[in-house]
């Protein structure tokens, strides 16, 4: 494919200063079962090229799924005409230094290729899982789904960049809904996405999870409502990853700080002067951009500007050091960034995206954290999220919580929510879990940009504890 891409690029006729072609081909199979029966089965294949040109300091992007030479030439011509039209209002004049000429490959680490599972076999496993999830009279609905994605991104430029990346990604969930009289509770695995293969759908492991989810859904029906109080809060990785995403990842994006996102996703409370100075969190907080963690959702070798991806610390011992901004944002702002310019598919231009944003593991075991808690609440599995456009005032809801009294778990709580403001919250961090508590979570649905793009992000996170957080329940 790289060979044909290079040849297609060589054959293009143009007077651009630079041309790049990104070929994006992705196949996603979505398979679902409900209540012991087959559910929705859909597959989507995306196949197209983004032709990107630079002329007189202005980039323009034209996406096409006509992959013939004539189709690429038409896209290239249109991109050049858009360049000429836009140059008069150029926000920032770029040159070819923002399109490095790297070459290489990336392949997702996989134990068992996805192709080894037939649609029929996947369906059979999902059906069995929902039968297990439903095995209680109080369960009114059980579902299991898996989204299996295989992506190939190939890139070639007139500067000489040549790279190919092959991704194998699975996102999966198990869900049980329990009902008694007017009380309805839902418990799930928590939508979990990673780079992996067919091993992600290993039946015996998932059946154990299905048993737990079913029992906890039923347990929630008779659980006490989460109390309204200010207390110590322990967050498991399947909730904390979204807290990191919304209140650390997004506000650190340099294009938000530069104002690009103000009309849609929003601005940021972080200003350029804060880098190197702002005490974002307590000294225990170390946050990394890490595209090298094997198997995490958004690991890769090159971003879509062709910049090689390396690990870097964004927050070190609580101090803000570095932003989430690709080479264009770094050039515009003069701030330190990372290789994170990515696009959702062949039809959208790249811009600053999160990739893997992780909290580095600390020293505490989960047992020690609980034992060190006089009174507190431990929350599992995200179910709701909301934050303002500067990424300050947040509220999250979880599926399942446990009360801690005198260092012991003493009961289950339902409808747990908490709220706070970003910098005070991260400064109230008192414990960071050790490597045993560290889990890689990821979502395929981070939304941003105009035109809109939903992209895959990863967050590998240990358990953490926070002091003095407002918690509350549901209803009213």
């Amino acid at each position: 494919m790289t060979f044909s891409l290079t040849r297609a690029l060589d054959k293009l006729s143009h007077d651009a200063d630079w041309v790049g072609i990104r070929h994006y081909r992705e196949q996603t199979a979505f398979r679902m079962a409900r209540n012991g029966q087959v559910g929705r089965n859909t597959t989507q294949t995306q196949d197209g090229m983004m032709v990107e040109v630079l002329k007189d300091g202005q980039f323009a992007y034209v996406g096409t799924s006509d992959l013939s030479q004539a189709g690429l030439q038409a896209a290239c011509d249109q991109a050049l005409s858009l360049c000429r039209a836009a140059t008069r209002l150029n926000l920032f004049p770029f040159d070819t230094s923002v399109r490095p000429n790297e070459s290489g490959e990336y392949v997702s680490p996989v134990d068992q290729p996805l192709d080894e599972l037939s649609p029929r076999e996947i369906q059979a496993r999902l059906i069995e899982l929902t039968t297990r999830l439903k095995a209680h009279e109080r369960i009114i609905e059980a579902s299991a789904w898996a989204m299996l994605t295989q992506t190939r991104i190939a890139f070639a430029s007139t500067g000489g960049a040549r790279w190919v990346q092959d991704f194998s990604i699975v996102t999966r969930d198990l869900i049980a809904t329990a009902k008694r009289d007017t009380e309805i509770q839902r418990r799930s695995l928590g939508m979990q996405g990673r780079q992996w293969g067919a091993e992600s759908l290993e039946l015996d492991t998932l059946l154990i999870e299905a048993d737990r989810i079913r029992e906890q859904a039923v347990e929630l029906l008779s659980a006490a409502e989460c109390p309204t109080e200010t207390t110590d809060l322990i967050l498991m990785p399947d909730q904390l990853y979204l807290q990191v995403h919304e209140s650390i990842g997004h506000p650190l994006e340099l294009d938000r700080i530069l104002g690009d996102e103000r009309n849609y996703a929003g601005w940021s409370f972080v200003s350029p002067e804060d880098f190197g100075r702002l005490r974002f969190g307590s000294e225990l907080l170390n946050v990394s951009f890490d595209p090298t963690l094997p198997g995490e959702m958004a690991s890769y070798a090159f971003d879509d500007n062709g910049v090689r991806a390396n690990k870097a610390l964004l927050i070190e011992q609580g101090i803000l050091k570095r932003g989430i901004g690709g080479i264009e944002s770094q050039t515009r702002s003069g701030l330190p960034g990372v290789s994170c310019a990515r696009s959702a598919s062949w039809n959208r231009p790249p811009l600053d995206r999160m990739a893997n944003i992780n909290i580095e593991p600390g020293e505490s075991s989960l047992a020690d954290i609980i034992a060190a808690t006089e009174r507190g609440i431990l929350m599992h599995t995200n179910r709701s999220w909301s934050i303002d456009d500067y990424r300050n005032k947040f509220q999250f809801g979880c599926e399942y919580a446990q009360l801690i009294e005198d260092g012991t778990l003493t009961g289950t709580l339902r409808n747990p929510n908490y709220r706070g403001a970003t910098v005070p919250f991260w400064n109230s961090l008192t414990h960071v879990g050790n490597a045993d508590t560290f889990e890689a979570w990821g979502s395929p649905y981070c939304g941003k940009a105009e035109p809109n793009q939903a992209i895959r992000v990863g967050h590998a996170i240990p358990v953490c504890k926070f002091r003095g957080i407002e918690v509350f329940g549901g209803a009213q």
């Binding site: 996406g63 649609p119 009902k179």
Partner: protein, 443 residues
């Protein structure tokens, strides 16, 4: 350039000609030619264009079915190869799948063709306008223009086509103190004078935003929610609020309303009303929804959305809702509050122009949280004091549309869908403003 309608008809004919006697094929087609101009500080951050089309092929063999969506282009040879390859894969896979007990047989629901044309501006026209008139203003936003198409056909002879040519300039303006107001100008026929007037209104609204910011403590406030803020709350109705299937599955966010144990305000009436003209009436099975269906009348539930799948599973009559059983063209009925009386009736409280990032605090009980954003003001004794520091609300739909609802305005505003995930979305909604008492703010 080959019209997308020709592309669709060619691949449909090809695919239908390759079916076995026991196979039924359902096709859904989306296409667009769009130019995007992304602005920051009234200059171009990114410029892009796409020519894109997708075709979903759903093959049904008895009780077994599966769908596969592919990209198409204007290249006939590539399209034909892709369609035959995909159909062949489906013909191999579908017989291996288990029976779906809830598949309802595809039918011939007739044919229709709606084509709305327009006078769209070229990117150069918009760039010239921004260069000439907006260089002293800090504007961020997106301009997009082009035709959008939706179609459905099946091998039983059904065929529906919907095209709309439109442009949208969705923007926000920023004051020296970095406070913002939101605006949008969209339609089918571009007129620079109208754009000038719309931006002029936004600039006027921006003046008051530069006054001293009012920081309010959490608590209950009397509020006026402008139509754009109401549109955001209506958006929550897309998440299983009025879905018959979701109600049976325990996912409904208005469970008590549906069960008849709780009501909304007698002033609250909601219809699904396709006279808005923003989206096709046919769904992904080519079934045609009623021109107008009352959903909530005088605070009581009148109808839920029932898709053919839900109908089959739970033994209900289908009203040809789409598979997600969400509103596609919802309209809230007007009340009696006149525009000139809004501030005096609000008296002292919050004037909320927009809301942001809504999500559930307790879904099955209809409790929603979200933030104020863009043009939110503190009003005292019927006079605007100044902008507020952002507040988080946490309130039930039963209060906002029920116990707290004092009055609705006698005018409405439409929101044309500007979402562009994967592709330009179609549809929209229409709502009046609402005067609400004791709305809860928590942070």
């Amino acid at each position: 350039m080959t019209p997308w309608e020709e592309v669709f008809d060619e691949v449909a004919e090809l695919a239908f000609s390759r079916l076995g006697s026991d196979e039924v094929l359902n096709l859904n087609f989306c296409a667009e030619d769009t130019r995007f101009l992304r602005f920051n500080r009234s200059r171009v951050r990114q410029v892009s264009a796409v020519a894109q089309a997708t075709l979903e092929l759903e093959l049904v063999i008895g009780q077994k079915h599966e769908s596969h969506t592919i990209n198409l282009s204007r290249n006939s040879a590539l399209n034909r190869a892709a369609v035959l390859d995909t159909l062949g894969t489906l013909q191999a896979v579908v017989p291996t799948l288990p029976d779906d007990p809830y598949v309802s047989a595809l039918e011939h629901h007739g044919t229709s063709r709606v084509v709305n044309t327009g006078q769209l501006p070229a990117p150069e026209d918009v760039l010239a306008f921004v260069a000439a008139e907006l260089q002293d203003i800090d504007l961020a936003g997106l301009f997009m223009a082009g035709p959008v198409h939706r179609a459905n056909a099946n091998s039983l002879g059904q065929r529906h086509w919907f095209s709309a040519s439109s442009f949208v300039f969705d923007y926000s303006l920023y004051s020296a103190r970095q406070k913002a107001v939101k605006g949008a100008y969209g339609g089918a026929d571009f007129d620079p004078a109208t754009l000038r007037a719309v931006i002029g209104d936004s600039l006027q609204a921006l003046e008051v935003m530069d006054r001293e910011r009012k920081v309010l403590a959490p608590g209950k406030y009397r509020c006026y929610l402008a139509p754009a803020a109401v549109h955001e709350i209506m958006g929550m109705l897309n998440w299983h609020a009025l879905s018959a299937g979701a109600h049976r599955r325990g996912e409904c966010s208005l469970t008590e309303l549906v069960d008849g144990t709780r009501m909304l305000s007698p002033k609250f009436t909601l219809d699904e009303d396709y006279s808005l003209g923003l989206s096709p009436r046919f769904n992904e099975r080519g079934e045609v929804f009623a021109e107008k269906l009352p959903l909530i009348v005088d605070g009581r539930l009148e109808n839920l959305f029932v898709s053919s799948q839900t109908a089959k599973e739970y033994g209900l009559p289908s009203n040809f809702a789409s598979e997600d059983e969400a509103p596609r063209s919802p309209v809230i009925a007007t009340g009696t509050l006149a525009r000139q009386d809004i501030l005096s009736e609000l008296d002292t409280g919050l004037y909320l122009s927009n809301l942001h990032y809504l999500n559930w605090s307790d879904k099955t009980r209809g409790r929603v949280t979200g933030m104020t954003r863009f043009g939110c003001l503190w009003v005292e004794n019927g006079e605007v004091v100044g902008p507020i520091a952002d507040l988080r609300f946490d309130e039930t739909l039963y209060h906002l549309f029920g116990t707290g609802l004092l009055e609705l305005t006698d005018f409405t505003e439409s929101h044309v869908e500007v979402m562009t995930y994967d592709q330009r979305h179609v549809g929209g909604k229409r709502a009046p403003g609402m005067l609400v008492q004791d709305m809860s703010f928590t942070l």
